[in-house]
């Protein structure tokens, strides 16, 4: 009846759990490859797509999803239910994936905050795209042996927010 008044402390495990749920429902429809935590960082050289969604209000920052082009293609094909995928399909599908991950992460951060609209870019994430922000949480995952990273960045530097990087 009474919502818990104490602030919840986000954990990296939450990033992994939320992303795994999104993947299980929309991308791994045949239950062939669950999204699993891994300790391996994405290898250099693979073509990468990154997608971000901003959160602003009581908490300010971004949720970023980085995945290989192979994964982005497979996830899009699964969501659309078709093998043929146009570049704009992939942009839209990956944007919706980061929207779902970001929205669920937002619900664990200080409220009230507003979720922005997703931005999807081909290529590796550059620090310049998240100015004045620091990465505070990260989860390394793998889907069918392809790496996938979810990270949370904040530009808040006030006491009482979720500071301090946790792996």
């Amino acid at each position: 009846m009474t919502p818990a008044a104490t602030a919840y402390e986000l954990r990296s495990a939450d990033l992994a759990a939320i992303t795994s749920d999104v993947w299980a429902v929309f991308c791994d429809v045949d239950e062939e490859f669950p999204l699993l935590p891994t300790t391996e960082a994405p290898a250099d050289g693979a073509e990468v797509v990154h997608a971000s969604v901003g959160v602003s209000g009581a908490w300010n920052g971004q949720v970023i999803l980085e995945l290989t082009a192979v994964t982005a293609h497979a996830a899009t094909a699964a969501m659309l239910g078709q093998q043929h995928v146009e570049p704009r399909d992939m942009t839209d599908a990956v944007g919706e994936l980061v929207n779902m991950v970001g929205g669920n992460i937002k619900s664990l951060l200080p409220t009230p905050s507003t979720l922005g609209l997703p931005v999807v870019v081909r290529g590796r994430l550059l620090q310049a795209e998240v100015p004045d922000a620091a990465e505070i949480y990260r989860a390394e995952l793998a889907w069918a042996a392809e790496p996938l990273r979810v990270s949370v960045w904040t530009s808040d530097h006030t006491p009482g927010t979720n500071q301090g990087r946790q792996q």
């Binding site: 009846m1 009474t2 919502p3 818990a4 919840y8 954990r11 939450d14 759990a17 939320i18 749920d21 429902v25 045949d30 239950e31 062939e32 669920n104 619900s107 664990l108």
Partner: protein
Amino acid sequence: MTLSSTAFGYVSDLVRKEAAIVLDPGKEYLVEARLLPLARAAGISGVDEYVATVRASAGPAERAAVVEALTTNETSWFRDREPFEALTKTVIPELLESASVRRKITIWSAACSSGQEAYTIAMLMADHVLPRGWTVEILATDISTEMLERTKAGRYSQLEVNRGLPAPLLVKHFHKVGTQWQVSDQLRSMVKVQRLNLAGPFPPLPTFDIVFLRNVLIYFDNSTKRSILDRTRRVMSPRGFLLLGGAETTLGIDDRSWARTPAGRCTLNRPLTGAHHDPSLTPATPLVSAAGVR
């Protein structure tokens, strides 16, 4: 490792008969993925070997575990909806009308799994019974201690609360703790858990006004069904109500001990006291039309 066609055939037959779910050829990987944890829990390394063990044992609990692993990702809250409509429209009003000096309703959620049914009942009781100054006690039992612990904790994932829980009830009775939704203390205080194997002798139990025994009799043979129904009747109040699953009935199993009355699209089974000793109490005509039994 691939699943043998014999094992796949047995499993697909089982889930088709008992859950009306069709597993087409090509879904072998699904059977493997879902049954491997059960095999490992049973100390068996391969799914083929595990399926052979289940076949040989012919045990309802083992078969139920296989069906459950293959059919349910999450249990719905208002699963099948009609039993809960019958509860609020017929059962609760009748119990509140009856001249109970106890002003208390005692309910059994048998084979409670992770507790969604028990808490669904608790939500309805909070709206329809507690405001009348009556108390409610819900006993949730299961053969699995893991399921009892989940029921007692009353914490559900977002995917679980998405399954048929009306949003107004979600916000009224749950709050979010991290990625989970926690049932309110008010509902949790109504629900007690106890381990119980339906197929064996029952431990001492209270006298129940309402029993939810749904989607579990299907796993047992007729003589076991009859003995479970008989034991259930003995722990029920003479004014009590038994609700079974959509594919289950007391009809043809234990005709002389139960009166069946339709309530919407489901059937309420009420104990006929002394029926075993006096067959003349059995109504000459069935109390329910065929349409009342799904």
